[in-house]
């Protein structure tokens, strides 16, 4: 449904998007994830035909956005980062105008405007001026605008930004419903949103795709090492050295200390379960083993590892770069 091939976009000397390729199947909801300035908005702007790519091509709903822009645009709904509202128009006037320029047939306009207003929860705001709406309502009118012509493809740039928690849940539900009938790309920096609404995730950083996978696979696959949390009661003993000497353990980092209890994060080689060895090492020395549990990497951590190159932890950069490489070679 959407195919992006070797897309590159340069603004003068800076390259905002660098050789990005991905596909979105019909009915899929794809999350577009990346830190600020990663190139999310630029990629979306190319997909919507707002700006042409410097290199590569984007095919939306079967039409190349550069060669047949009008056909592609007819099939695309777009919610930009800032909802494109005219402050002096009422919500009703605004949506009627958008329906006209999106080519909704005259006879269907009224019904379409009514139905998207219901769907996005702005039905009782019809006579308000767009400029007088709160941020959350602006966002929803923006979403209503994107849905008006019932497009095959929806491109939503941070659709839940500025909404209150109740509306965030409603909007996510709406997006989930829209998947199936529509093909959706949504960008966000809220990670739970991705795991809740998206079937697949594209993570981009500095204009490059660093990972494409399902949210579940990302969290499990990208754990290059196993991490265990171990809490030990061993007053005055050098637990760190003992645990570090166990074969397979790569790193031991002491955590919080509460009285004589100390927590440790123990990293081990991927695919190697060192729980038995840890437990026996602790118990044979007569220390108290209070807790031992695997730490599963959250999507947040995956994201941070893939996109952060400089962290306070000196060992992190190496991990981050190896992971990024693994991901791109995928």
């Amino acid at each position: 449904m959407i195919e992006v091939q070797h897309l590159t976009k340069r603004y003068g000397p800076t390259t905002a998007v660098n050789d990005v390729s991905f596909r979105v199947e019909r009915g899929e909801v794809l999350g577009f994830l990346g830190p600020n300035g990663a190139g999310k908005t630029t990629t979306m702007r190319v997909l919507t035909g707002y700006m042409p790519p410097s290199e590569g091509k984007a095919i939306v709903a079967g039409y190349d956005v550069s060669d047949q822009p009008l056909e592609a645009k007819r099939r695309t709904g777009y919610l930009p980062e800032t909802p494109p509202l005219y402050p002096e128009m009422t919500v009703h006037e605004y949506l009627a105008f958008v329906a006209r320029i999106k080519g909704v047939p005259r006879g269907e306009r009224k019904a379409r405007v009514g139905s998207v207003m219901d769907r996005t929860g702005v039905a009782d705001m019809g006579n308000r001026h767009c400029g007088k709406l709160s941020k959350g309502y602006r966002q929803r009118v923006g979403l209503a605008q994107a849905l008006l012509h019932n497009p095959e493809v929806l491109i939503l740039d941070e659709p839940t930004a500025g909404l209150d928690p109740k509306h965030i849940i409603e909007t996510r539900e709406l997006i989930k419903q829209l998947g199936g009938d529509h093909t959706v790309i949504l960008s966000t920096h809220i990670l739970p949103e991705v795991s809740q609404t998206c079937q697949r995730v594209v993570i981009i950083n500095k204009g490059r795709v660093v990972a494409v996978d399902t949210p579940d696979n990302l969290t499990s696959r990208l754990r290059g090492s196993e991490t265990l949390y171990v809490e030990v009661d061993a007053p005055g003993a050098d637990v760190e050295t003992v645990l570090g000497a166990i074969p397979g353990v790569t790193q031991v980092a002491p955590g919080d200390t509460r009285g004589s209890f100390t927590g440790f994060e123990v990293n081990s080689e991927a695919g190697r379960d060192v729980r038995r060895q840890l437990a026996s090492a602790i118990v044979t020395r007569g220390w108290g083993l209070l807790e031992i549990r695997p730490l599963r990497m959250s999507l947040e951590e995956v994201f941070l590892r893939l996109t952060t190159e400089e962290t306070a932890d000196p060992s992190a950069p190496e991990i981050a770069s190896t992971h990024a490489e693994e991901a791109t070679h995928e």
């Binding site: 707002y50 700006m51 645009k73 930009p80 494109p84 402050p87 105008f97 006209r100 320029i101």
Partner: protein
Amino acid sequence: MSNVLAIARKELQSYFASPVAYVVIGFSAILFGWFFINLLYFFDRASMQAGMGLGGPEAVNVNEMLISPLFLNVSVILLFTLPLITMRTYAEEKRSGTIELLLTSPLTDLQIVMGKFLGGLVLYAGMLAVTLVHMGFLFWFGNPEWRPVATGYLGLLLMGGCFLSLGLFISSLTNNQIIAGMVTFAVFLLFWIINWISTFTGPTMQSVLNYLSITGHLSDFARGVIDTKHLVYYVSFIAFSLFLTVRAVDSERWRG
């Protein structure tokens, strides 16, 4: 075409939903009324002197002495008011991000530009329509010829079209309304006074400068003459400015 009309309608909606349209039309009407009264007093005295045989012009003609200069005076009003109409057209869309809606809708750049031009032209026509009241008084109490009046309005519409299309182009180059307004005003003024220097230049330069002057082409219209030379000037001026606007909008996409 329906896309052009949709944009034009939206432009008008914006003009009339904000005070812009009312202020522009209202204050232009005040200025026009002032010019009208001045010329009316002048005409009144001239005709009285002529009637009493105290000298002055041989024949007193309301078209030549009142309506024609009145039309030329309107160009002064346009110089100040039309930049106010055009300065927001593109600049505001770019600043507020609504340009993203227009450029990602199934519209061609030309349709957007034409729609905006048409919207401005209709507002300007509304501004001119108010002056029909003054003309009505002249026709009520006097007996002017209607043809020079009609061509005068045609000339004003064409000249305003030039200003509007040029203003649209300048607005498409910036996202700052004030800059758009100031530059538009300066360029209008330049086109207005461009032939002032012509008395000091050679004959070739003189005719070129005279031809470029936007207002210079109006006087024939105001006298009741429709000369193809002037029509070609105005229409090609408008077409070229709109073409430049389309190019500017397109190049904006490339630059991002």
